[in-house]
């Protein structure tokens, strides 16, 4: 079976400074794949390239066999991608509820939107309490929850999560990773970037290790967890 997402030897950067230099990876349907790496390794850049916020200078990105390396992010979202960016990027002046509704912008049916809203509120009850507050006044953690919920509102096939755990309290981190597993059980493929290597690899099927814009290790999550190199470099052991 063909991979859901295939990244073939992409190169990209900002203003001529190369960041990603020849990166390839693939994500199969139904998997959870984790990308790990040091700060500045290019994890976020990879994600941005996949979802179309940034176009690679060379290489190909295939979503279900279709080349999406040149299409804008909005088009990719409509094809079933969803990206929850680093730094949340909520609409600061809109309420939590409005933010969530915008997450389902591609959905026209009002009823579907309402159903999904309820699902999200069930997942994150705290958001329900805050649903009329504007996003800018949420605490860091609340904002993160709102961002996840917003990303799920479009009912994507593949969801990409960038540093979900950033700034979350321990019990929430746990909860969020549980949520990821839950999402995945529903049939949504997950590609995630994490600093919490241990936690990420615990839920992932496979993982890639990035270093200065290239994949230096890849394999099943267990392999990586057991690899001395990975443990030394990223888990401080």
């Amino acid at each position: 079976m063909a991979a859901m997402l295939e990244v073939k030897d992409i190169h990209c950067g900002y203003d001529g400074t190369p960041v990603i230099r020849g990166l390839s990876l693939e994500v199969n349907r139904g998997e959870i794949v984790a990308i790990i790496g040091a700060n500045g390794a290019g994890k976020s850049t990879t994600m941005r390239a996949i979802c179309g916020l940034l176009h690679p200078e060379r290489g190909q990105i295939l979503l279900e066999g279709e080349d999406i390396s040149r299409s804008p992010a909005s088009a990719n979202i409509r094809k079933g991608l969803s990206y929850i960016p680093e730094g949340r990027r909520l609409f600061p002046k809109l309420t939590v509820r409005e933010n969530l509704e915008l997450g389902a912008f591609t959905v026209v049916d009002r009823k579907v939107i309402d159903e999904r809203l309820e699902e999200m509120f069930a997942l994150f009850p705290r958001l329900k309490d805050r649903s009329t507050q504007t996003a800018e006044t949420l605490s860091g953690g609340e904002q993160q929850m709102c961002a996840i919920a917003r990303g799920l509102m479009s009912a994507p096939k593949l969801i990409m999560l960038d540093e979900l755990s950033l700034g979350l309290m321990p019990s929430l981190v746990e909860k969020v990773f549980e949520t990821v597993v839950l999402i995945n059980r529903k049939g949504i493929t997950v590609l995630l970037v994490e600093q919490m290597v241990q936690e990420a690899l615990e839920i992932a099927n496979r993982g890639y290790v990035l270093q200065t814009g290239r994949v230096v290790h890849s394999g099943s999550a267990r392999e990586l967890l057991d690899s001395d190199e990975v443990r030394k470099a990223y888990m401080g052991m």
């Binding site: 979802c51 179309g52 804008p72 909005s74 409509r78 960016p85 990027r89 600061p92 997450g103 912008f105």
Partner: protein, 286 residues
């Protein structure tokens, strides 16, 4: 006190025209945080379009505003594509100065092509018609423009608040990248916003030819007032622009009559400053 009534109506009518001029600017400013410095020149171009159509084809401004609106829609969109998109995000002042350059080009192009002569359409349907309300005399062309202003502003407001497109525009205004991630085609939104901004001012210009002379410098004062209206109203806010424009119109006509005509704009700018210092983001600003 029939002077009072007259002055009041003059102020209101003028204010509505200012609101119409400012609406397009406000949208562009609100959505993209770009000041279109060539806004006044857009108005001037709109007036020329309508003037030439009236002059050669004998079409009344009452109808030719459609053409000038369409023309300016295209011009606005083209300005976005060719100028704004390339200067956006490079430095805060780049789009403003680029459009300043554009304003120089447009003004002097018209100067060069159409001569600096004042051109006034004569024999238009509404020309010289007036109606009298309680002793005050109102000019019908201005009244028509004002009525148009109200309708157009209402449409814009409805579009922004009640339609999916409006939602998309607002989201894009707040964070374009995040909007893109919601599946909103932000590139098209920008294009559209600049087009709509252009169309608004094109329509205004088109209608204004029925009572105002066209010449290459006609836009300068209007654009200055439009800046002030938008800033006073709070950028991106249509009701804000409307209220601010009416305030400006009234200040202008009341100081013009009761104090001295020569200080009326000084008063307008001073009132703007006074308000903005109390409410730094304008009357309806966030």
């Amino acid at each position: 006190m029939n002077h009072f009534l007259q002055v009041l109506f003059d102020g209101l009518l003028n204010g509505l025209v200012y609101a119409l001029v400012a609406a397009g600017l406000s949208m562009i400013w609100g959505v993209m945080d770009v000041i279109n410095f060539a806004h006044g020149e857009f108005l001037m171009v709109g007036m020329y379009v309508s003037y030439w159509i009236g002059f050669f084809l004998d079409v009344d401004p009452l109808f030719s505003w459609i053409a000038s609106g369409a023309f300016l829609f295209i011009m606005g969109a083209a300005t976005y594509r060719l100028i704004i998109r390339n200067s956006l995000g490079k430095s805060a002042m780049a789009p403003l100065l680029a459009t300043f350059g554009l304003s120089m080009v447009l003004k002097n192009f018209c100067m060069n092509r159409f001569t600096p002569n004042f051109r006034l359409l004569s024999g238009t349907v509404l020309e010289g018609k007036t109606i009298s309300v309680g002793g005050a005399i109102l000019s019908v062309p201005q009244l028509a423009t004002a009525a148009f202003a109200l309708v157009l502003l209402a449409c814009l407001y409805w579009m922004l608040k009640r339609t999916r497109l409006g939602w998309a525009i607002q989201a894009t205004a707040m964070d374009s990248e995040a909007a893109e991630l919601m599946g909103i085609r932000t590139e098209n939104i920008y294009l559209l916003v600049f087009g709509i901004g252009g169309a608004c001012v094109g329509i205004t210009g088109g209608l204004m030819t029925s009572y105002l002379a066209v010449y290459p410098e006609v836009g300068s004062l209007f654009s200055l007032i439009a800046f002030v209206v938008v800033a006073l109203g709070g950028f991106g806010s249509i009701p804000g622009a409307l209220l601010a424009a009416i305030i400006i119109g009234l200040v202008e006509s009341f100081t013009g009559f009761y104090v001295a005509a020569v200080v009326k704009y000084a008063a307008v700018f001073a009132v703007y400053l006074a308000v903005i210092l109390i409410r730094p983001k304008g009357l309806f600003g966030w």
